[in-house]
Subunit: 369 residues, 2 copies
Amino acid sequence: MKLIFNKADLLHGVNTVLKAVPSKTTMTILECILIDATTNEIKFTANDMELGIETIVEGEIIEKGMIALNAKFFYSLVVKLPDNGEVELTTNDNFETLFVCENTKINIVGKSGEDFSYLPIVEKNSSFELSQFTLKELIRQTIFSIADNENNKMMTGELFEINGNELKVVSLDGHRISIRKTELAAEYEHKKVIVPGKTLNEISKILSGDAENMVSIYVTENHILFEFDHTKVVSRLIEGDYFKIDQMVSTDYATKVRVNKKEFLASIDRCTLMITGNDNKPIIINIEDGVMELKVNSENGSINDNVNIVKDGKDILIGFNPKFLLDALRVIDDEEVCIYLVNSKAPCFIRDEENKYVYLVLPVNFNTI
Amino acid sequence: MKLIFNKADLLHGVNTVLKAVPSKTTMTILECILIDATTNEIKFTANDMELGIETIVEGEIIEKGMIALNAKFFYSLVVKLPDNGEVELTTNDNFETLFVCENTKINIVGKSGEDFSYLPIVEKNSSFELSQFTLKELIRQTIFSIADNENNKMMTGELFEINGNELKVVSLDGHRISIRKTELAAEYEHKKVIVPGKTLNEISKILSGDAENMVSIYVTENHILFEFDHTKVVSRLIEGDYFKIDQMVSTDYATKVRVNKKEFLASIDRCTLMITGNDNKPIIINIEDGVMELKVNSENGSINDNVNIVKDGKDILIGFNPKFLLDALRVIDDEEVCIYLVNSKAPCFIRDEENKYVYLVLPVNFNTI
């Protein structure tokens, strides 16, 4: 095989598929990137059996062929090649691979591509489309509330549900729920799948975030396929019926608070000063007319912080794990947020008027702690 | 005690003395910053018994007094106070300390300052002066070649030697020597002291790097005092007679190589690709007319890299630990560097024509490895 690339194209290709290379595996072939130039295009593939990425890389095929190269070494090698250079990649029958770029020659030994597991074939029956920007935003604004342990597999993924021209993305971990909705450009048939959080994390790293470029998403019984920019990302789906979140979300409230997001965030962050180590002290929030007082008492000392608010409804005293409020507030782009509360035992909701986002956070009982 | 600060002044003061707070200690008083407002100025002090820093902080004294506060907590507290705010700090007889800043009130408990170890008094008999910029540069360009273990105490420090109007700074670790010289504005009496590397690392973090602002340096038998910007840094000196480096440095050579620094650096960096883990493979450098070839063969594969040079003298084949070359080249600001070699067993010298810097690197024997 003999191929010629621009360094920038080669680096972009390696970096794209690298996201599907497992950090730990006992199968050395999974640590590889497959370079397949047996047809008229150069295709790079990586696959950890859950998540697979394939991308077409710009380059010239002088002689067709195929090779598998250790992904991390391949990446660090390409990074260090002279910038703006033209890279010539040649392999022989013993899988010896030679890189030539300007005054640099590097020899490494690759593997036959024969053992490599290709991506599963996903039938392209039904798809929906959204922009790379929107998908990246949807992921950023929900991914923080998936569960980080595998005790409940479903909680490690996110629900993607389509109803007509609306896409709803949901994540929850038992303490909180994040819901983001977006309008699609067309009506699609109803779909409901659970996408692994890892897949979403990795895909959001390679999405350009461009509002002009689209992603096509195909769903089958066991797989989801994302197609964009000459790249395919295929992932297994998580099996099961997702939690019935409609029952958990209510629009009734006894108290509504409107607050400047940045000030509220800074105030909570300041209160976390007093919470160190494994000390699970809650923040106690006292909501009155025009002002919200945040308090923490701990072995470190005590803090009282006042934030100006506009309040409708009853006064309320309620306790929260500050992390759950911080996580939600950090991903909201609005300058002001509205918080809806019922009583000190009921979940609080942070949501906008159009219901584009809803963040539910359970309070904590601060009397017994 | 009652003091009023601007947040920015307070933060700068805490951050300055924080560099002398030990990361590990069994004496809790050493983990503190002493705020001393018993006179007409507010002085912050930290002291790990080897290195002590004292700085005068801008602020208003409403009521005189003194308190010791846990340094790390104090720092993270000040960071999180509302920006641009005015901070009121009040203490009572029980060492309870109240911070008030805009809508925030924080209560913590401090310690009596009585147990606090003040900085040793350094007699200001003889001093010399240089700019903050120059001192910071001298440290940056030599500190990388101190030894990182304590087997030989002297190697963990740097020689500061004054001869007339010349200051020479030297560090060495048994594999290499770094020498930087600078001209002082005046003639001073001969001095020769060994300053701990830790002191130099910490001081370079708080030097502004400004060429206009000066540092005054005072030396006594056991201590060195740096004075700048209302700040005093006092450090113990390392005892002993420093290595006789003049005997190790020679100006004879058989081969002189002139090379573009950036290209040489990139080429060595590329060669390190092949050196992973504990594999101590050397880079083998083959110097011929007009070109220098860098080679590494390892279990990862092989690399050959050519760099254009201007050569005077004999061809030479020599092996190096790439780290030692990289460390020196990274701190040299010149676009081109000159390398002087004798034979494959003798040290190589990277030095400029005015002898402002000399970096000696021992070669490695590449036949037996």
